[in-house]
């Protein structure tokens, strides 16, 4: 019986810890959060653009295979510190590898990814950005999950009007 409890606890724990690591920020004062769900992407992919352009088709395929996009932004220094600590512990626990990092216009940007189903694709793309934007300190966490073709991601950035989108556009360049 004790063993069973332990097994359940162990199997549930990763989910809990993962969910808790960032979801508690969403309701925090001083934090802006945005979530787009798979339901949204399913609907978007459903729109028939009557296009035979292979580029558009690939783009729709990318959207269709997205699970969710989560973005957290803060300008509060204390929260930003806490976020950084949480990001570091999350990255080491979630078996993510660094995709690239660069400095851009006073911002330090790091991209991490989790390997996907095939070459050139990832199952999760994670971005951590900190720096200054328009004279204000800003920290952004962005997580995109799904079956993501890295070649197509930069296109998504053009249509996503969110902090960090400009940086996302650079994924393809490097």
């Amino acid at each position: 019986m004790k063993k069973l409890v332990l097994i359940i606890a162990l199997s549930v724990f990763p989910f809990l810890s993962q969910a808790q690591s960032f979801s508690n920020y969403a309701d925090m004062k001083g934090v802006s959060s945005m979530v787009m769900t798979s339901e949204m992407f399913k609907l978007l992919a459903d729109i028939d653009f009557e296009s035979t352009d292979p580029e558009v088709k690939r783009y729709i395929q990318l959207i269709e295979n997205l699970e969710d996009i989560k973005i957290l932004t803060t300008q509060d220094a204390t929260i930003a510190k806490k976020m950084e600590t949480d990001v570091n512990s999350y990255l080491s626990s979630a078996s993510m590898s660094k995709l690239m990092s660069f400095k851009d216009d006073g911002k330090e940007v790091n991209f991490y990814s989790k390997p996907g189903s095939k070459k050139g694709a990832v199952s999760q793309l994670f971005m951590f950005l900190k720096g200054m934007e328009e004279g204000e300190p800003i920290t952004v966490i962005m997580s995109i999950t799904g079956d993501i073709d890295l070649k197509e991601v930069s296109k998504l950035a053009q249509d996503l009007e969110v902090p960090g989108a400009d940086q996302l556009e650079k994924v393809n360049e490097k």
Partner: protein, 196 residues
Amino acid sequence: MKKINQILLLVIAVFAVACSGEPSLQKYYVENQENENFVVLDVPSSLFLGDNSDLSEEDQKVIRSIRKANVLVLPVNNNNQDVYQEEKATMETILKDEKYKVLMRFDSSGRNVKVMYLGEQDAIDEVIVYANDNTKGFAVARLLGDDMNFAAVMKLMQSAAKGDVDVNLDVLGGFGKELNEKSKKTKDSIEVKVEM
């Protein structure tokens, strides 16, 4: 013994029915229609879609699938803080129901927006936008219809933008204009452009 079983069955049945009477959004609307704290607006689609009789049969079918729009607003002021907190909690509990499929969520200090729909992917019954601002109050806007097809409606919207569809938003007048602008502001910044 048989009788006991029957009674038991009846009790279970009644219990089940009673339980399924969970607070639904529709019920909430009806119950609060007369409540003086709320501003409620109910508009049949014929009023804001105008005359579109010269559109193709297919487009008209899409238009007919949209039944009505309704908006419920609870503006907050110094006297109704308690009511606001209580009603906000009730509303958020209702919207937590899994049957409302969340499309998008946006939270910022003291402000949040949630976009949901009810029904199936290609047969949507209801599109719901919930917006809350702790200093202004909350609003729930619903677009109701029968098996609305998102793709078809989107296509129609594109024709509306081109000016083919007669959309008349003037009937809404200055209703909650400020609140509208406010929620628009937050939405614009997170808008995902679907035009490609």
